[in-house]
């Protein structure tokens, strides 16, 4: 069941990434040694402090997929209120068993992560420092801190694609 569905997703991904203009910020998305391990690369959405830099995503898919959600984390460090700076763990409700739906696919999940970059949720922080800046409304400090870490750990647009 999981394999068949992942095969379908793979062919969908091959068709739509990176050519589809609907997903301009998903640069790569491909399975690794097995269909249960994927890697992706995203670029920071326009008009967010992440713009101009790229991050890798590591996707592990359980054998119970799509009844259970995939687990996704950032490969390189990113400063975001809902991402653990050390581990890259992402706090996103649809990645929880409780809020996941089997009608979603990997592209939907990555689109949701891109949405999260531009719409952080300071009330469920995994990075308290940058989250506090957001809560206090100090947007120049918030943007500045994110950009500092983006310069340090993010990949620039002219860099090669993460593999």
């Amino acid at each position: 069941m999981a394999t068949k569905r992942l095969m379908k997703e793979f062919s969908l991904v091959q068709k739509s990434i990176p050519s589809d203009s609907e997903y301009p910020n998903i640069l790569t998305l491909q399975p690794q040694d097995t269909l249960f391990q994927w890697k992706g690369t995203i670029s920071g959405p326009k008009d967010t402090p992440f713009e101009g830099y790229k991050w890798g995503l590591i996707i592990d898919i359980p054998h119970t997929y799509p009844s259970s959600p995939p687990s996704v984390k950032f490969a390189n460090k990113i400063c975001h209120p809902n991402v653990n700076f050390q581990t890259g763990e992402i706090c996103l409700n649809i990645l929880n068993q409780e809020h996941w739906s089997p009608a979603w696919n990997l592209i939907n999940v990555i689109v949701a992560i891109l949405q999260l970059l531009g719409n952080p949720e300071p009330l469920s922080p995994l990075n308290i420092d940058v989250s506090n800046l957001l809560k206090l409304g100090d947007m120049s400090a918030y943007d500045g801190l994110i950009k500092y870490y983006a310069v340090r750990y993010g990949l620039k647009d002219e860099d090669g694609i993460l593999d």
Partner: protein
Amino acid sequence: MSTYEAQEEAAARERASNTTQPPQRSHETLATMLSNLFTGEGTRDLPQETNLAAQGIRLVGSDGEEVSQSQAQEFARAMTLLQELPIRDSLLEQLSTQKDIEGVSQEFIDSLERVSRKSLKPDQTCSICTSDFLDDPHPLVVKLPCEGNHRFDLECIAPWLKVHSTCPLCRKNLVEKKKFEDLPVDSEEEEDDWEMYG
């Protein structure tokens, strides 16, 4: 005096190093045995495992009381039995079912309304497996009692409904909320009130 003390100290150190050496080794053997037990995939041959376990218990016995051969064998047999049990799987299962997510009963799944092959259109797909319903020459499709009457392959929706009582597409809870009606009246609290006046 000082030379005697130094000698005594050296001797004590030597004794300590001598006595700690064997238990350390036996611990190592037991530890690797246990880790093998929990990480192994059950592909190794079992007799070797049994010997290893027996050896482990003999080593444990050597620095303490005497452990009889039969006891060691019994222990080894228990260990192999333990390995055959799908402990890891059952623990994981317990973890995932202990959350407050509750699915529907098997009767509910069995009673879902079937959709006949005739009423299925070629472009309709099951959003769980993303396959067209009509790809299957004998599709077993059900519709959920949500507003959209969303349709899924029974094979796809059943595992989902066993742990969730919502429609994957519209999130409508398919089970009537009986929880509030079923709440029993707290009789103890009432009695407490009576006591206040009594």
